[in-house]
Amino acid sequence: MNSLFEYLLRIGDDSLILGQRLSELCGHGPILEEDIATTNISLDLIGQATNLLTYAAEVENLGRDADNLAFMRIDREYKNVVLVEQPNGDFGDTMMRQFLFDAFRKLFFERLQQSKDGQLAAIAEKSLKETRYHLKHSSEWVIRLGDGTEESHSRIQNSLNTLWRYRAELFFMDEVDNELINKGIAVDLKTFRNEYDSFVSTILNEATLNPPAQNWEFGSGRKGKHSEHLGHLLAEMQYMQRTYPNMEW
């Protein structure tokens, strides 16, 4: 197995799948400003995915390109965390999913900028600037909804109860990571787990939300095992390329 290729798929698929999820809100946002905001964030994520998958295809060197990787793989070949494929649900679900992800991504890209792999460091440097805006946006919404009305509080508390189990997978590491950490290419995720937990709990406190007592964790997306939701997402995302193979705009 080519570890760098695998690593790029993991980061790239997180961006791609969450970008696709958010794009579902285009024309369906709860208010006009949030319709625009979520699709802007989607655009950033799909841009990051393009950079990462273009590089992955180059590293793999088997004649595939970014479009091929994005649109022609089967579900087991996607390496995103299960968190990002969860459905948009209500606006609380969308923002809580985004918050748990953005908080991770900011700390991750800050460190990935130091990667010895120049292209990966460049993508991280670029993506970090965008991620800071995303995190500011999702944190503010978590607080606004949590510390808002009785209705908004109870709904986003439900979102937290549902999504909490998926956050641990963000910190999944295996031999792929270990090999690349030794080469100075990958980030050792253990180094910022505490920082992540403490940031998340600061925001949740401010939002008057409590993490659920259950502490079980779920997620095996990094190994290609996904929730049922991914298949449906892919069916829609891949429709055009499957129907008209190799079509281009």
Binding site: I36, G47, E140
Partner: protein, 161 residues
Amino acid sequence: MVTEEKIWKILEQVSDPEIPVLTISDLGIIRGIEKYDESFKIKITPTYSGCPAMRVIETEIEAALKKEKITDFTIETVLSPAWTTDWLSENGRQKLAEYGIAPPVNEPDKSILFADAPAVSCPICHSPNTKMISLFGSTACKAHYQCNSCLEPFDYFKCLK
């Protein structure tokens, strides 16, 4: 003979497809022009990772050069150093304001989560009394503001550092 300066001159005429009042050199997205014997390499960088204007910009660069009978060139997209609004030219900032888009102001670091929205003056009536409506606007590089004095909504070209 075609020189790097000549290429720069030509590219100064190419405008940004989304904010046509700015040229791509005002925006600071041309990162370098390198000469190899008779051919040129033009390096450009996107403002945001997903900027949908990049393809169009490449096509326009090609068209502008071909119009001057320059055909031996390649365009390369580079990501590092990452684009920042500090690269917007002084001239570009003025043109933005005249066009009705408030140019970027120096903002505190985005890691300060709960910092107040930056104080941006209304590009129409110049009142400093404005409010941010949304951090995200009509394109990836803009936020949405409203003036409390003249009540007009306007775009703010947000700071990226």
